[in-house]
């Protein structure tokens, strides 16, 4: 896939291979038992999925742009964000460097 859209990563085979283990861990967060296990011992949980150092660091920093850069897919990352009660507006704000209120106002403005 041609990656020529600013601020956008198209999740293609290249990204899917790069992010496989990270996404597999995030997919596991569908289950409350797994979310609890992550919270109880984050290092041990990440070790089970053999994340790369870059992926482990991005998880540690809860940084969505870094997670995408490390191959994360937003649908699975949303399950990771869900552990901390973060909505798509919270992570939208984080990625755009806006406050959550400003991000919400920007969305509403597009309807006017």
């Amino acid at each position: 896939m041609v990656q020529d859209i600013p601020g956008t990563t198209i999740f293609d085979g290249h990204e899917a291979m790069k992010g496989y283990r990270l996404n597999k861990m995030c997919y596991s967060f569908n289950s409350k038992e797994n979310r609890d296990a992550f919270l109880a011992d984050e290092d041990a949980y990440c070790a089970r999925f053999e994340l790369t150092d870059v992926q482990r660091d991005a998880i540690r920093r809860r940084n969505v742009l870094a997670l995408i850069e490390a191959g994360g897919n937003i649908y699975y990352l949303a399950k990771f964000a869900g552990i901390f009660g973060l909505s798509v507006q919270d992570i939208g704000a984080q990625q755009t460097g806006m406050s959550v209120d400003d991000f919400k106002a920007m969305l509403a403005e597009q309807g006017r």
């Binding site: 198209i10 967060f29 897919n73 990625q95």
Partner: protein, 286 residues
């Protein structure tokens, strides 16, 4: 023979489920969105479907990247609703109709759509929220269901032309089913939105309005768009318009718009709704 009573195409944003669970439908933020569904429910009461064929995209509840089909058809006696990881309420399973599923699968493969088949299938918000919008007081709804998944998680996604043709094949499959069933087509997702990247929050009202108009009168025009074009114009998750294209394909060449609504924003998304019916054939004059 089975009859297609019409199609509803609608957004399926997760936050809708939370708003319904918390009774926020009449709050100022939500009312402009939820009010759009009253007319759809009135129409549904006269359309009286027995079955809802729901064309949707799984978001990593049933499928993972280890085994990700482009097109998948449910063939289960029931479809379970499970935790997606961020606190949406879960519900009892939705009733399936396996004999119709297998007829659809056989017809699709005969028409060169080699679908994956699922005798167990978990359905996520993209299936559940539209069902709850259409039957808010009835969960599960008073219809049998047949979920059909189209991949939007991992590129390459199926081309727009292929999704429209897939919908046409679904329509032919349903109309060739022997039982007297009234079938509603539901296409879920969209409209423009982007959750990921520095462009998160991207919405394109002009593009959405063009898509809604073309879905009604000239869906073939949208097949000029590549998936890459749609990402650029409608955002990374705006690709869910392919569910609308497939649903539209299941109807005939000419349709009437019964109802439409459009609202920005619901969460990070431009929310759209269309209710479409096949246009009655004009009486012949002799």
């Amino acid at each position: 023979m089975a009859t297609i009573v019409g199609a509803v195409t609608t957004s399926h944003i997760p936050a809708i489920g939370n708003a319904m669970a918390n009774g926020l439908q009449h709050e100022p933020y939500w009312a402009p969105f939820f009010d759009g569904y009253e007319r759809a429910r009135e129409w549904l009461a006269t359309a009286r479907p027995d079955v809802a064929v729901v064309i949707y995209n799984d978001h990593g509840l049933n499928f993972f990247l280890d085994n990700l089909p482009t097109f998948a058809v449910g063939a289960a006696p029931e479809y379970s609703v499970e935790d997606e990881g961020w606190g949406l309420p879960t519900f009892p399973p939705y009733r399936g109709i396996p004999e119709l599923s297998w007829h659809v699968i056989e017809t699709l493969v005969e028409q060169d759509f080699d679908v994956a088949t699922c005798q167990e299938m978990r359905v996520d918000h993209a299936f559940v929220n539209p069902m709850r919008l259409l039957w808010p007081d009835r969960t599960p709804p008073p219809v049998a269901t047949l979920p059909i998944h189209i991949n939007t998680v991992q590129h390459p996604l199926p081309k727009t032309s292929r999704c429209l043709a897939f919908g046409r094949a679904i329509g032919q499959a349903l109309e060739s089913f022997d039982d007297e069933l009234r079938v509603l087509i539901v296409g879920t997702g969209g409209l423009s939105h982007q959750l990921d990247g520095q462009r998160a929050g991207f919405i394109n009202k002009e593009f959405d309005e063009m898509c809604m108009a073309k879905i009604i009168d000239d869906p073939g025009a949208l097949t000029a768009l590549s998936i890459h074009d749609i990402v650029k114009l409608g955002g990374t998750q705006g690709t869910e318009i392919i569910m609308w294209l497939a649903a539209r394909g299941a109807l005939g060449d000419r349709v009437d718009k019964i109802h439409g609504s459009y609202h920005i924003p619901v969460s990070n998304t431009a929310a759209g709704l269309l209710v479409l019916e096949n246009r009655a054939q004009p009486a012949l004059w002799y």
